[in-house]
Symmetry: C2
Amino acid sequence: MLVDDHPLLRKGLSQLISLEDDLEVICEASSGEEAIATLTHCKPDLILLDLEMKGINGLETLSEIRKLNIQSKVIMLTVSDNETDVLQALKFGADGYLLKDAEPEEIISQLYKALGGELVLSPALNQIIARSIQGTMSTPTIFEKLTKREVEVLKLITQGASNKVIGRTFSITEATVKVHVKNLLKKLNLRSRVEAAVWAVENKITL
Amino acid sequence: MLVDDHPLLRKGLSQLISLEDDLEVICEASSGEEAIATLTHCKPDLILLDLEMKGINGLETLSEIRKLNIQSKVIMLTVSDNETDVLQALKFGADGYLLKDAEPEEIISQLYKALGGELVLSPALNQIIARSIQGTMSTPTIFEKLTKREVEVLKLITQGASNKVIGRTFSITEATVKVHVKNLLKKLNLRSRVEAAVWAVENKITL
DNA sequence: AGTAAACTACCCCTAAAGTAGTAGTTATTA
DNA sequence: TAATAACTACTACTTTAGGGGTAGTTTACT
């Protein structure tokens, strides 16, 4: 099964797969919602799931799929080698994480491996995984540790708001905002609101 | 001609195009550099050019192509509907700007239009174009107005560096760094280094 | 020779950010 | 009931940022 909001990419993949005698695309979806709906009547051995999609994203889709107790293998297919994404995907029970810029032949061979029960990862990700195993991660899925308020504050920081403005927005004092900023910086192991803003943007904290 | 660093997408496109009797893919490239090299011996009527690529990006590639006085039509094909990118592309002489998430049929029909001399744009971009014509743009290609030093400073800001650190990095005083920051904020019409950092990240100023 | 832009550096000043510690309230959970 | 986490608020302090102006140097282009 192919899940990707780019018809072009689906076309490319399905053509590639159709060249293989023992592989077949039995269903497709262009969004996470559609994928979950389709999975009620389509039971693929393997799902190739895009990470970047409108609506619910790939990670959320994966999480839903696992909640529904669907046994298909799931391989994330994406352009991003973002550390947080990779680790989240594996945590949510992905059977693989491949980068879209890989060679087509490599992708196909990885599909077979995954079907055989192997955990497949793009070579480019080895370093990330290694670091996470060593516990040397810079971003050990810290984001979820932020409280609701801290996330709200972070979002406004990303928009360039000062502590004073943030305070007015939430009807709290600037002093309290400073507390939130201090705490979120500590949790994210960052040193300034600038770093926090960049981190938030790069990790696509939705505004 | 197809230029995209994702083999999968090239495959999808070329399959799509091969279904058309009067269209044919005569060459491909997986990077800007490769594209420019290939264009010395391959003269396509139309080039489909990805924006996001490693090495020199799509815009730079387009600029090079125009400098070489190559007469092929060029359509930018990308996932981003970023205002700056769109306007830059048109300024550099693109004959079209299409989003990758468009329907395949639509993309094909746009190719014909472009070959006919039309300027083709994804419908999703209409609003952006309209605003730019009205001069209401938030980002009127301001970036190129930054001096070399200002760009360097901006890059370090994005990495969370303080003015003091930036000064040490370039062996200039903190006071001078402040001058650069002040000037670049004015040029970009931003109010703080946080906004500058976010702007830089969102517009992919390469670090 | 003259002009303009870029880079440098300084002054003065205000505002904003960040650090540290204390502490009260509420809600949840063990 | 006791403990914990989250949110709030404060004081006090230091550092960083940002705005304004002036001005010297170099480089490049008239």
